[in-house]
């Protein structure tokens, strides 16, 4: 009985966060801020669904399934990478070295460090 409440709770939390993640994509007004909403809110959205599915597997079907852990781990590892790439696209197209804070002792950020021919090793 308690597992049923648990599954329903996880599903409702997941639904709310999944919805808010995509709603933020429309509502927020500057491009870099829009990056925040999907990377964070969706991770708990999908995480909630996967937790619910895991509890469902244990309580209702009677065996532990590890695929959910797999998908959660995979999403948690890839979300920062996609966010970084999208941020780099934004930096590349819309920011100049002057519109950002100074890059410490190096003076320039990696995305803007393209004309001196010293890169191309990645």
């Amino acid at each position: 009985m308690i597992s049923e409440y648990l599954i329903a709770g996880f599903l409702i939390i997941a639904g709310i966060f999944g919805f808010l993640g995509s709603f933020g994509l429309i509502k927020l007004n500057d491009p870099m801020s829009r990056l925040h909403a999907p990377t964070k809110a969706t991770s708990l959205g999908v995480g909630g669904v996967l937790l619910a599915s895991m509890v469902h597997g244990i309580a209702v079907e009677g065996h532990l399934s590890l695929h959910e852990v797999m998908i959660t781990l995979f999403l948690f590892l890839t979300a920062p990478v996609t966010a970084l790439f999208i941020a780099k696209v934004h930096l590349h197209r819309h920011e100049t070295p002057d519109s950002l804070p100074r890059a410490g002792e190096d003076g320039i950020w990696a995305t803007h460090n393209v004309d001196d021919g010293a890169e191309d090793k990645d």
Partner: protein, 165 residues
């Protein structure tokens, strides 16, 4: 000893691949364990040229602590971002860029730090400086950018320093 190091360049990766295969096959049997271990031996050996230097983890127990701290922060981050998205007007929100100077030097540690920053409250790491001495971080809603920078250094970088260096 050198032969063992040549055949088994990344012991942690081997362990991780074995565990991943067991999770993919979704069965705790000897079959999947043996096959997963074979894959765990083969893949690091074949991909060795792409990852030449060895990764060192000084204190494995600290890793567990770090994982729990980050998971807890991910939970808080989700609630905080959802509240900002749902209730805060765009005009009242104050987005900001901050530069975080790095004391970490190993590439693996900087990668983990950047990933952590993206997953935790109101911050996304956007770029690293040309020589890898600073991180560019975007804040969703920061009244005091310096406080955010200090918290990143205190909470995550100090722990990663203990683990990797």
């Amino acid at each position: 000893m050198r032969l063992l190091q040549r055949l088994l360049p990344h012991p942690i990766l081997t362990l991780l691949l074995t565990f991943t295969w067991i999770m993919l096959a979704n069965s705790w049997t000897l079959n999947s364990l043996v096959f997963g271990f074979l894959l765990g031996l083969l893949i690091p050996f074949l991909t060795q040229p792409y990852w030449p230097q060895q990764m060192k983890v000084k204190r494995p127990l600290k890793v567990v602590e770090y994982i729990f701290v980050v998971l807890y922060d991910i939970l808080l981050a989700n609630v905080a971002v959802a509240r900002i998205v749902a209730f805060k007007a765009n005009a009242k929100r104050r987005p900001a860029w901050i530069a975080v100077p790095l004391e970490l030097r190993t590439p693996e540690a900087i990668t983990v730090l950047a990933g952590t920053i993206t997953m935790t409250p109101g911050t996304v790491s956007a770029d690293v400086s040309a020589e890898g001495h600073a991180l560019l971080v975007h804040c969703l809603d920061a009244d005091d950018p310096d406080a955010v920078r200090d918290e990143i250094k205190q909470r995550y970088e100090r722990r990663l320093m203990e683990i990797f260096e």
